[in-house]
Amino acid sequence: MRKLYHFNGGVHPPTHKTESTQTPIAQAGLPSRLVVPLHQHAGSTAKPTVQVGDRVLKGQLFGMPQGSVSSAVHAPTSGTVTAIDMQVVAHSSGLADLCVTLLPDGRDEWAPRVSTNYLSTPPEELRLLLRLSGVVGLGGAVFPSDLKLRPGKHKVTTLVVNGAECEPYITCDDMLMRERAGEIVRGAEMMRYMLDADEVLIGIEDNKSEAIAAMQKAVSENNFSRMEVVTVPTIYPGGGAKQLIRVLTGIEVAAGVRSTDLGVQCFNVATAYSAHRAIEHGEPLISRIVTVTGNVQHAQNFEVLIGTPVNELVALAGAKPDTNGHIMGGPMMGVPLPSDHVTVTKATNCIIESSPALFPPPLPEMPCIRCTRCVEVCPADLQPQDLYWFAKSKNFGKAQEFSLFDCIECGSCSYVCPSSIPLVQYYRFAKSEIWANEREKEAANLARERHEFHLMRIERDKQDKAEKLAQKEKAALAAKAAAAAQPGTDAAAIDTLRAQVREIAHPDAGLNKE
């Protein structure tokens, strides 16, 4: 029996998983249009490589990665590019971002795909392939996976594959593990090869018995001796990367620390699956499994093309009239969508249709009575009531002293607060204010430098002019003295003398000044 470690805190919300695991993964098919954001990963926006009016094939490159932290974006199906413009995207702000709008032609024609044998390819080439295939973390952070597969300062001993899926309602990873375990496992082995890790531990919560069985079968069928499926206790947020690493290896990764520096790396099962499709089948990341659940007629999982409008996706599950909102993600950490006209991105693991019955409106906020229920459940060992105190009074310095940025925003504290305080919202507010302040500070420092240089430049120009004026006067004086000393010299001699004087006064004559 493998030794499992423990992390403090955590809560047990009702899981609501069985609603959406009754039927296998269905294909969502082609929607009426696809709106693909060019910035659906952490890092810099991809640069568009197509133009309006272009006809593209399925899997064709839409956006080139820009900068070291970036990833590529591809056409989810064949069709015509009808627009490259700002569209409202699935983001808390409700703001717009640059998107490519694609009108499908119905043929779903693939661009040429190339299979790669990973065992005979050096890891740097495989990483480049993943970057150009748009493979990013599908657990929600959408961090470019190629960067996470680079060796760190220390050797990576353990690769953790995250099949925990601790948040209620979400079952996309569960169904993926049940149906496509073989490809996940082969993808995980490819990742282990790239990292040169000693072992692979696949963590799955104990409420997913079918998935555990399927994954164990896949591991033994593929004879991966260094891979092991480990059952972990069901607790929220046990599926957080830091928490799962702690449970499986005992290592605690602090905020701001790279887990590879501590010898461990963590990927979601869907990311491993996509890596496998990219390397072995040459397919870029253009679709993902999305759970559609909540206030719908038939909650289920779909394989959805990136860029599918949410309302068309939900219609497949049967929308209900009393739906009052759409949540991307789970009920603990999900993002309320500005409308259902936004589209599915690589980060969309679940769409929950909310209704007043399912998610009643929150009670008004009462004062904090310091009952410390929030401290009991915090998985990061923080003091949420102190962070709330400082965030509320905008004392951002103190909030950082109390480790505000170690908060993983899991929502456990808000979940148990008897005063109905929206704790995580205060922390999000504080974090974004601190980041904005840092940006302003940097801009102000830059402006100060430029201003000081501006003043210095003006001073320097003034001095240059003064010097030249002084030299001119000196030369004029010298010429006068020379002329006075030799009154009878002939004109030629005077000319030579004048030329010499001019030489002294304007040594760089011939150059254009000003």
């Binding site: 008004p364 906020e365 402006a447 100060r448 430029r450």
Partner: protein, 192 residues
């Protein structure tokens, strides 16, 4: 009696020597308070405080000549930070300074620009690229929104464009709705 006098004088001389030595040996160049104040100011160099730049304003505050509520680009937040640094009370903007405006950048209409370089000379952070008889353009990332270029332009081709927040600069709102509800609303007892 005499010994007491001698001892006290000796002590006074000794302590005076120590003070004098420290004043010379540990003298701090420049005025650190001015630098601290300048670090808080937003470096817009716009002159709305009626001083020719942020450093002169900082110097004036340190010297006690200027009050802390003269900087509109710093906003109320800036006044608060200055108040905290100097141990004074917060005071709101007075009537003789302009109210804070949303952050904006300058924009040159290239159809109208005549290439006279007057705006280039006016910009305190050298954020305008151009030369005599050449097209001028604002370097957007360097512009602080100080508006000093708008007035000198003889053909009025410079306008200020408000920077709208985009997805990278968007901030979460203060959860004020929750607080306001608890404070102002008549909450039905059945909801508690």
């Amino acid at each position: 009696m005499l010994t007491a006098l001698l001892v006290m004088s000796a002590l006074a001389l000794l302590l005076g020597a120590v003070l004098g030595f420290s004043a010379i040996k540990f003298k701090v160049e420049g005025n650190p308070l001015v630098d601290k104040i300048d670090a808080i100011l937003p470096q817009t160099q716009c002159g709305q405080c009626s001083y020719p730049g942020c450093k002169p304003y900082a110097t004036a505050i340190a010297a006690g000549e200027a009050d802390i509520n003269r900087c509109p680009p710093g906003g109320e937040e800036g006044i608060r930070k200055l108040a905290e640094l100097l141990g004074r009370d917060f005071i709101p903007f007075g009537e003789d300074t302009a109210a804070p405006k949303p952050k904006s950048v300058a924009f040159i209409d290239e159809n109208i620009c005549i290439g006279c370089t007057l705006c280039i000379q006016a910009c305190p952070v050298d954020a305008i690229a151009g030369a005599a008889k050449q097209m001028h353009t604002i370097i957007e990332s360097e512009c602080t929104g100080c508006e000093l270029c708008v007035a000198p332009c003889p053909v009025d081709c410079i306008s200020m464009v408000v920077i709208r927040e985009n997805i990278s600069t968007w901030k979460f709102q203060y959860p004020a709705a929750a607080v306001a509800t608890a404070n102002k609303m008549n909450i039905k007892s059945s909801q508690i």
